[in-house]
Amino acid sequence: MSKKLIKGNIALCEGAIAAGLHAYFGYPITPQNEIPAYLSRKMVELGRVFIQGESEIASANMVMGAVVTGKRAMTSSSSPGISLKQEAISYMAGMELPALIVNVQRGGPGLGNISGSQADYFQAVKGGGHGDYKLVVFAPNSAQEMYETAYDAFDLAEKYRIPVMILSDGIVGQMMEPVEFNRPDKKEFGEKSWALTGCAQREPRSVQSLLMKDGALENHNIKLQKKYAEISKNEVRCESYETGDAEVVVVAYGISSRIAKSAVKLARKEGVKAGLLRPQTLWPFPSQAIAKLADSKAKFLTVELSHGQMVEDVRLAVNGKTQVEFFGKAGGGIVNEKEILEKIKKMKLGS
């Protein structure tokens, strides 16, 4: 199997292409610029569609147009650009369209800065746009996972007819790592019973989120919630490292989980029973895995490049059964393993 040293952002492109990405629409913003730059050449060479839109808003709506016909399409951006895409994301959630949206997070709020950050967690998992909706949110922590997640995202999106977000960050996106291209080029995409393809030999179809008839929207929302419950049951992904006997479990995703893992290893060297639980899907969230560990009275330390967002979901999962602490930095600050180690040791001493 071929292995290549590439940036996380490029790995993501390769995963999407292997999955049969038909069209990419995007707008420049750092630190995701490798994605449109790479695809502007690659997609054209492959005879597929690449458009640099006039804005993030337009790009996200171009994705809507492509996926409503059943084609695989994606857009990517970084934090402020994702805010602009929320309009289309809410529509696509309502229209049940399987799009892929990639957020290579930078510092915020506002224009912020171009450093890696994890401050868009709430926006991604709590619904950044209007209405009761959910996205499946993946949080890869390596170039390899950027590749694999981008590949898997489309199948999942189409299985449930739901927009999927990959919530990455400027560090995972830009660091270079060896990537094994372990996914076959997808060639068969199957018929979609809902796609707009022209009404030859069938009744016309429409795809919409506007439901004005009495009770129609209420029923649609109930249907969406059932779908979300189904996804919560089937699609949670998380990785556990040394959690079996852990007295302190660190919960971290994306780039923080890499640093947290080093801290856990250091702790173990010093005889402190630490472990790591890494959500690979932020929604659905691995609440059950956390609740189970909470039953064993392990304490939790949530580490994020934010001032505490995912920690709220950890607390909900723990439900008061044990102690939950938070450690994080935002706006370009990066936590380091020694700092995390100190926190782990302090929590252990507190017992």
Partner: protein, 247 residues
């Protein structure tokens, strides 16, 4: 007995939700007739706007998608680029196309997207109750210009066809109206020509249809038609604004 007129196949059996005397019904019919005559119904994917025509999918008998307010040209771009063999048009109002969606309109036009836009200009926001539109005439009273549109306060009516004509990416732009049978026939010719432009792969086409909105204008249907003839088209001159189909 010979049947000389029937409902186009491209229209569903449905009662329109438009107000009495509104021009949308006529324009829907013209669009449907053209699609029937060009034989593209089964490969049509249309884009409905936010505005009075938001329910277009309930009336048109072909595939239709919704789009957020102002974004139909971007949605149509996504459809057409991934399905170049399909027939793609948007149906939009003045607020949708020339206010909130101006960027999407200009850039789709500038890229020379091989799509068609049917732009219904009735000089106000109909769906929301008659507020000022980008095309509201100077002095025109609306819900949000109670003293009449004053250019010092609200700027000038936007002439979209003329604006788009400056872009190299546009192929065919015409402004028509539907206030009498002669103009309705002319409007149909323009719509058919714009559709043919797309079918022939000649690029971006747009037909601006000057229409009436009797309820929000506070007029009877007849008075509203008279206002179109006497006032509206004096400001928005009818005719071909750009035609490089033969070039």
């Amino acid at each position: 007995m010979n049947k000389i007129l029937s409902k186009p196949e491209s229209l569903k059996e449905a009662s329109l939700s438009y107000c009495p005397g509104c021009g949308h019904g006529i324009i829907h019919r013209l669009v449907a007739e053209c699609i029937d005559e060009l034989g593209v119904r089964e490969k049509t994917i249309a884009v409905a706007p936010v505005g009075c025509a938001v329910f277009a999918y309930d009336y048109f008998n072909f595939d239709v998608t919704e789009a957020p307010h102002g974004r139909p040209p971007a949605v149509a771009t996504g459809i057409k680029r991934t399905n170049p063999d399909k027939f793609v048009f948007t149906y939009q109002g003045d607020g949708d196309i020339a206010a909130i969606g101006m960027a999407e309109t200009i850039h789709a036009a500038n890229r020379g997207e091989n799509i068609t836009i049917i732009f219904v200009n009735n000089a106000n926001y109909g769906m929301t109750g008659g507020q000022m539109a980008p095309t509201t005439l100077i002095g025109q009273v609306t819900e949000t210009t109670p003293f009449g549109r004053d250019p010092k306060r609200e700027g000038y009516p936007i002439k979209l066809c003329e604006l788009l004509a400056t872009l190299e990416g546009t192929t065919y732009l015409e402004r028509v109206s539907i206030y009498n049978p002669k103009n309705i026939i002319n409007a149909k010719k323009a719509i058919k020509k714009a559709f043919q432009c797309q079918i022939d792969g000649k690029g971006f086409s747009l037909v601006e249809v000057i229409s009436n909105c009797p309820v929000d204008w506070g007029m009877t249907p007849l008075d509203s038609i008279k206002w179109v003839e006497d006032t509206f088209i004096k400001s928005f001159t009818l005719g071909v604004v750009k035609d490089k189909i033969e070039v």
